[in-house]
């Protein structure tokens, strides 16, 4: 097993999405490798940390798991503000939650950190017989918005580690890239390779809207 050597990067990551889509379950699976069928609803937010070992670095996530109910939405900005990455979760058996996820993506693009890396997670993939959101539909949406997309199952652990690892790799590359840019050298070619999957920067939609800070 290659253990993370070299640099340790810290990133703030936030989980957003409608109520009962499995945000807390994904985090608990990732951090403690546990699963609770009746995970109690998150009131406010919960803070957890976990690291992912990459080939030549360790990425440490500081994770904010948020409450999903619409009512709590006004509290969300304090958690996604300054977040370097966000996982927007929907439930593949619940069409409405996919619409909810889209509005979260929109909100992040509008009000989140301009460089935030967004990943879309279609959770409860184990319940594929009750599927209401097709993989292709979500994939198409993700591609249009240059965000990472994966279907996950916190219950049987499918793709949970992979999702975080993928985000970790992207974050690491961005981090390297920013460093090298600061040092005046060329952007890391890896960035382009990964670039098609994720949104590494925000193209201003309306150039006349406002100047970037």
């Amino acid at each position: 097993m290659a253990s993370g050597t070299g640099r340790v990067c810290h990133f703030k990551l936030v989980l957003l999405g409608d109520t009962a889509v499995g945000k807390s379950c994904l985090v608990v699976r990732f951090v403690r490798d546990e699963f609770f069928e009746f995970q109690e609803p998150t009131i406010g937010a919960a803070f957890l940390t976990q690291s992912v070992n990459l080939e030549n670095a360790t990425v440490k996530f500081e994770i904010w798991d948020t409450a999903g109910q619409e009512r709590y939405r006004s509290l969300a900005p304090m958690y996604y503000r300054g977040a370097a990455a966000a996982i927007v979760v929907y439930d593949i058996t619940n069409k409405e939650s996919f619409n909810g996820a889209k509005s979260w993506v929109k909100e992040l693009q509008r009000r989140g950190d301009p460089n935030v890396v967004i990943a879309l997670a279609g959770n409860k993939a184990d319940l594929h017989t009750k599927r209401r959101v097709e993989y292709e539909e979500a994939q198409k949406y993700a591609e249009e918005n240059c965000i990472l997309h994966m279907e996950t199952s916190a219950k049987n652990a499918t793709n949970v580690k992979d999702l975080f690892r993928e985000i970790g790799e992207v974050m690491y590359v961005i981090d390297l890239n920013q460093m090298s840019r600061q040092l005046g050298s060329c952007p890391n070619p890896l960035l382009n390779q990964k670039g098609k999957h994720f949104r590494s920067y925000r193209e201003p939609k309306n150039n006349d809207n406002k100047a970037c800070c």
């Binding site: 699963f35 609803p41 009131i43 919960a46 109910q69 009512r71 709590y72």
Partner: protein
């Protein structure tokens, strides 16, 4: 892969004295909150007679409290903790005792029930109206998703087969959403409703009442009969519902303010808590500030559920005793005391360890120590009033700095 199927594994399943299941464990592994509880039960037996005497008269607590000195006595006894057997009878009664009439007028479950009845609203009618499968993405659908996730480890709410507690909780929350369409349902209310259901309708509580020498159940009937409009054949669940309504709407507890759209009351309460902490423990407060650790990051569930979401019931029940009699002051006092109890630990921690420590704190909080510290805290009602008046909702994009990656 760990699953929570130990719930089905009956061999080593035991219930703690509050009806929460846990695995069998050695005595030294049993959480301190549970040990506190055993001691508490011995105390309760001793206090039983005092509570019987207080509610002995027709008219119950109100007659007892006619004299100011006795009101003080009641407050002292409530702060020590209402005996478990008496909570069903006493909680509704406490809301009706006017401790400080000039501040928060007393209004209890019976009054809300009577008012609704005058408008032709009954619990039975509300339940009937909201029965049936919830439409997709209605508020009832949101409630439905939370039913099985509320106290899933409690005997009343075990979820493999639909338990009585879950059915009661569904009816109570749906009925409330119908009764108060402005508030409808906000996550957090599920814990409050379940807490009241456990204490008012839970078999454990009824058993405890029966075991009590002085029969608190009889006292309920006696206290109830004062209210002319009150039907005496109402079920325990109905009692729980109207107590829930009272807890949300009464001027003393006004939980409803916390739950409305935008949750302004919750943000106000968190800011009051923050200011009170700064006042009483400036060094601790300053340290947490420096580390960018704010109350809304760890104490939202403390406030929104009045501790009922994650804390041991040994603490929760005693906070609620005081909440019903005195309103928010004791809640703030306990919130500050919880941090004060661990001041030394907290001041040695950086952001990440602070957050982790505070996240895991409810499981291992030292209940006795918290209440003993809380009783020594000097928090004034007028300070709270002032802080509440001063509170302004922050503008949408307040630029308070939150920890960025280091």
């Amino acid at each position: 892969m760990v699953d929570n199927n130990n719930k089905n594994n009956d061999n080593n399943k035991v219930f703690d004295p509050w009806g929460f299941f846990r695995l069998e464990m050695a005595w030294y592994e049993i959480p301190t909150s549970e040990k506190t509880l055993e001691r508490q039960e011995a105390l309760d037996r001793k206090r039983d007679r005092k509570w019987a005497a207080m509610t002995h008269h027709a008219g119950g607590l109100e007659v007892f409290c006619a004299k100011a000195s006795r009101k003080k006595k009641l407050k002292e006894r409530v702060r020590k903790g209402v005996p478990r057997a008496w909570r069903r009878a006493i909680w509704p009664a406490l809301l009706e005792v006017s401790v400080k009439p000039e501040r928060s007028q007393a209004r209890g479950a019976a009054s809300y029930r009577a008012e609704a009845a005058r408008e032709g609203i009954t619990y039975a009618a509300l339940c009937k109206k909201t029965a049936g499968d919830p439409p997709r993405d209605s508020v009832r659908d949101v409630i439905e998703r939370d039913l099985c996730r509320t106290y899933p480890k409690h005997r009343l709410f075990e979820t493999k087969t639909e338990s009585t507690g879950v059915a009661s909780l569904r009816r109570v929350l749906r009925a409330y959403a119908e009764f108060d369409p402005q508030t409808e349902y906000c996550q957090g209310m599920n814990y409050v409703a379940a807490l009241l259901i456990i204490h008012v309708c839970g078999e454990d509580s009824i058993d405890a009442a029966r075991r009590s020498v002085n029969d608190p159940t009889r006292s309920i009937t006696r206290m109830r009969s004062r209210e002319h409009l009150l039907t005496l054949d109402g079920s325990a669940e109905e009692d729980a519902f109207w107590l829930f309504v009272a807890a949300l709407k009464a001027p003393r507890t006004r939980l409803r303010d916390l739950y409305g759209p935008g949750m302004p009351g919750s943000r106000e309460a968190l800011s009051v808590f923050d200011a009170l902490l700064a006042d009483s423990h400036p060094a601790l407060h300053a340290h947490m500030r420096r580390e960018n650790c704010f109350p809304d990051m760890f104490a939202t569930h403390w406030i929104v559920t009045v501790f009922s979401a994650q804390f041991p019931f040994a603490l929760v029940a005693r906070v609620w005793d005081q909440f019903f009699l005195e309103g928010w002051k004791p809640v703030y006092r306990v919130a500050v005391a919880i941090l004060a109890a661990y001041e030394k630990d907290l001041r040695a921690k950086d952001f990440e360890s602070l957050m982790t420590f505070l996240r895991d704190l409810p499981d291992r909080v030292d209940v006795d120590r918290v209440f003993s510290l809380a009783s020594k805290l000097n928090i004034k009602t007028h300070t709270i009033d002032k802080l509440e008046r001063q509170f302004k909702l922050p503008p949408d994009d307040d630029d308070r700095h939150h920890p960025a990656p280091r």
